[in-house]
Point group: C2
Chain length 615, copies 2
């Protein structure tokens, strides 16, 4: 006996799927990837899984009749959990009935976040009211929008309503709502033109991601060197610039905004997204960067006790900051923990799920120009920071570059063969990114081309058994010894210099000594850690064994080390698609303790030790 | 045996009172009029009645030791309910320990409102932090302010903090906080320079009251004719002006702001209050006025179904509206009920306590250029409005004027004697205000000088027994008959003309027919009313018997009639000193039903009947 095959058309997806008589609509939707909100567990109690369907389905159940009004039933409103297919049917699934979980990719791991962005766009067809029971125009709009929460509106949108509603009978309008506040009404149906940008403002590198706020999907990513690097490579030099120049803050803020606006342009142009359709930005960064971004003088971060003006999340309007997006867009800057453990760390902690860490002992190290380290132990979150320098972002490294096309991200030395490099993108090598730097450092050690003090050996100092190819890569000029990783087709060499290695040593020492100091503070050993998250813009292929070999991190079982990439910007993305994540960020930032470790004499000793390599 | 007399000095009042050993501090304070917050009923459980005292009092009780920290006890923090006088003592009572009830005078009646203004100013002495456990500057300020709620701050104040905190060690700073948000920090201690303005924007008259937001006391009151009257006497003509002129809305808004700014000047100058010390305004008015005030096009109020753009409370910043107060000041416009039952009615309802009306059947009529009537019956609030015209505010009456100095507010005619007028202030008569108009109308009827149609009788038509003095006041010229109420020292006569009486008839008919229609709608009679509140800017001495005689209101037992004056502005005052009152206003406005009574044919008939007088 063959079963009759029916067609279920799903709107607004315009998808058609094959079904059989008696199939549950909820199950069919689930199989096609449409997850419904079903807090009651399909018991027809919550009434959340509403769909619209008029033909080809079973009659309403008693449970449905109790939850849905006569009017709703007449309009074809049904509960998906109670409805079965009996013929060809067309089902419309309203967005409010859809499960709002989304998964965000963080490195190899994933974390769930409820999809509840601050910005919601919803279209309606405007109809005039009759005399009896007439509401205010605004309340009438709220009713048409069918938003149960009490909507409010500020003057900027209220003043525009009368002209919008004149002659609007039968026309579509789209409401833009932020946190229960109507912030704009647009003509026509622009419901799906709703975007946001998540931004990580690093001292050296700025990264932005454009997100579709209707789906939560990432549209594009772009990065650029912070325009402030002209005024100094680290936060202290930026703060000095502010101290020494009367208009220093404005100059630095404007340099930063130019870079952010460049990134916005890079994000929008290829995907043809209109700047007017960007309604919100979330920003992470270290405290000096977020202060300058908002035009707040960062000088208190330059002196003991290194305190920020504010640590809490701040909202500001994009227009007043000079950002080239919709003027009603708002910027949400995530909270920070301390002067040198900023919103970028909070973003990384969110991305790693350390807002809800469970029973284990977790540590996260976010490596940028500064390195921030956070330990979760027995319900406490303890944070410290150490100055790593910009080596892993490519700065102050002769051929350093950000992890983009042309960057050498992986290096292997074969003592019997040659040097092999993996380059990002199908392009010629242009430089070395963070993961490449870790690799080449570890490989030079392993191959015996560098001693424990970090000195590159001269060709005549190395093992005589070394392959001639490798030996040939060791060159010497007036600046000293350097190692040639690759040459491009024009014959230009990508090299690692002795000076580069000194930068690498500073960076790895900062991380290693911070990690150890924080563990020591609560009498733990690296082996006690159940998870170690290493975050930063190194590139995609950071090898944890190489990081251990280099001495960047202490010896931790490999399966406990998770390289989670630029987790700060992932945190900004989470905060962009989920106001729940913003609340978690605020709570996490408030509860974390800050340990002023880097100021102690003990730390200086530890740091000096960590400069050396283990052979 | 004589008891030893001790002295208790109370700070910051600088008051000294005599006490005896063993007297409870809480009781002494209460007797001197200082009421403390004691939600636990003196059980030493809530810890709310904190005072500062170091000498001359009993040792801390066990209960105190449980609630207060060692540090607090060392600083002299005590609970007033547990502390007894044993010697001469100096007690400081912080404002947060004081009971926050205030009484607001409404006509003869009073209503209680919790004193919780949206604006709070608090001074602190700034101290730098040490290295360990340093907070952000903002969190440090919050801690110094000892505000338990999580304070937030926007960019406009955050950007100013670094300069304020530089070299501030040991100096006083004053925080300005609105709804848990820090909106400004001022140098020095300006805690007591904190004012607000409550404003009733009538079609004809605008009234403002300056309030001290530290004490809740009224400082001064001022009124002026709405600068828009140049563009028409009623709301319909203002709406037409907006419709017919491209810049009509801007012209009317600017005329209104000029008047409001004049009133602000009148309020501030005599009391030497700095405009910078005005941090908040509350505004009531009919919907057309509040729309124009906020720059929202009121045209939808000019046509059926007469709907406003918005009914809910709106907040706007004073600077963008062009108000001459502190630029950070905010304007809170109270919510309205319907297009012709606006925020002024909601204010009057608050003032009359109809947000919590109890079991009885109450009615409130607020008489301005429009008359709004609200009935409370069995938990329902029903509202309607009728067009009364501006007669009671003095407009369109030949010698009409607002109830200010020189206004005749009371009139008595003695058929055997003469006409006696009571004039506001010790000045010569300049005109007739609303209550005087009601009086002279009622008296002309009683004395037989006017017939039931409102026609003034000629000298030869009146009773021959009338005193020659009164008869002599009936004059006739080319415009018709008029009655001379008074003459000033320059020989100028204050008269009531036949045309004035037609205006009075329209006004009284509007009120009477509205009251009756609303009662009829729920099958009630005037005698069923337990309270009848009559509100409006008539003047201080409106006589309810005269209002009944005139037929303005139906016959209601006198002790149930309460003349509550300009209750709309009292509502604005309540909302200024109490955010709780704002919540009540919003709830009340949302729950009230609006009856579109004035549009029915039945109402037109009723109105025509009500034009006549009862003899």
């Amino acid at each position: 006996m063959t079963q009759e095959t029916l067609t279920l058309r799903i709107e607004p997806e315009e998808t058609e799927v094959a079904t059989h008589p008696g199939d549950g609509v909820l199950e069919v939707l689930s199989e096609t990837g449409i997850l419904m909100t079903t807090p009651c567990g399909h018991q027809a109690m919550c009434g959340k899984c509403r769909i619209l369907v008029t033909e080809g389905v079973s009659d309403p159940s008693d449970a449905e009749r109790q939850i849905l009004s006569e009017e709703e039933l007449n309009e074809g409103v049904r509960l998906a959990c109670q409805t079965h297919v009996i013929g060809d049917a067309v089902v419309t699934v309203p967005s409010e009935s859809r499960a709002a979980e989304m998964r965000v990719l963080v490195g190899g791991a994933r974390r769930d976040a409820p999809f509840d962005p601050a910005i919601v766009k919803k279209s309606v067809t405007w109809t005039e009211q009759s005399l009896s029971g007439a509401l205010s125009q605004f309340d009438h709009l709220s009713r048409l929008l069918d938003i149960r929460a009490d909507l409010t509106a500020g003057l900027s949108v209220l003043t525009r309503l009368p002209a919008l509603f004149a002659d609007a009978e039968g026309k579509e309008l789209t409401a833009v709502i932020r946190n229960k506040q109507l912030i704009s009404v647009e003509e026509g149906n622009s419901e799906f033109d709703c975007f946001g940008i998540a931004c990580d403002i690093g001292t050296t590198t700025i990264v932005g991601t454009l997100l579709d706020l209707k789906s939560g999907n990432a549209v594009s990513t772009a990065s650029a060197v912070n325009g402030q690097t002209h005024y100094g490579h680290d936060v202290i030099s930026r703060i000095h610039y502010v101290l020494e120049n009367p208009d220093g803050l404005q100059v630095l803020q404007s340099a930063l905004m130019n870079t952010v606006n460049d990134i916005i342009g890079q994000l929008l142009s290829p995907s043809k997204v209109d700047p007017q359709d960007v309604y919100e930005l979330t920003v992470v960064g270290n405290a000096t960067m977020t202060h300058i971004f908002m035009g707040v003088d960062p000088r208190s971060l330059g002196f003991l006790p290194y305190i920020p003006v504010m640590n809490h999340a701040v909202e500001a309007d994009a227009a007043s900051l000079g950002l080239k997006v919709n003027p009603i867009a708002e910027v949400h800057v995530l909270p920070g923990i301390a002067g040198y453990v900023g919103a970028d760390t909070v973003g990384a902690l969110l991305a790693a799920g350390m807002d809800n860490p469970g029973d284990g002992i977790q540590m996260l190290a976010d490596v940028g120009t500064n390195c921030e380290i956070v330990l979760h132990y027995e319900g406490r979150l303890m944070a410290c920071s150490t100055p790593a320098g910009p080596a892993f972002e490519g700065a102050r490294i002769q051929h350093g570059m950000y992890a983009g096309p042309g960057a050498i991200e992986k290096v292997r030395l074969d003592v019997n063969g040659d040097c092999e490099c993996k380059v990002i993108g199908r392009v010629e090598p242009r430089g070395i990114c963070g993961s490449g730097l870790v690799d080449i450092g570890a490989e030079l050690l392993r191959a015996g081309l560098m001693d424990e003090t970090g000195r590159l050996l001269a060709p005549d100092e190395v093992d005589t058994g070394l392959s001639p190819l490798l030996r040939g890569r060791i060159r010497e000029d007036e600046a000293g010894i350097h190692f040639v990783l690759a040459e491009n087709s024009s014959g230009e060499a990508i090299v690692l210099t002795q000076r580069d290695i000194r930068e690498l040593q500073l960076a790895k020492a900062a991380i290693r000594s911070g990690v150890e100091a924080l563990l020591d503070a609560v009498d733990l050993k690296p082996a006690d850690l159940t998870e170690f998250y290493l975050a930063g813009g190194f590139g995609s292929y950071l090898d944890s064994r190489q990081a251990i070999r280099l001495g960047m991190i202490p010896e931790i079982a490999e399966d406990r080390i998770h390289f989670i990439g630029n987790a700060a910007v992932v945190g900004a993305r989470l905060a962009l698609v989920s106001t729940d994540m913003r609340r978690r960020a605020e709570k996490l930032a408030r509860s974390a303790e800050h340990l002023q470790i880097a100021e102690t004499a003990e730390f200086q000793m530890r740091f000096a030790d960590a400069m050396l390599f283990d052979l």
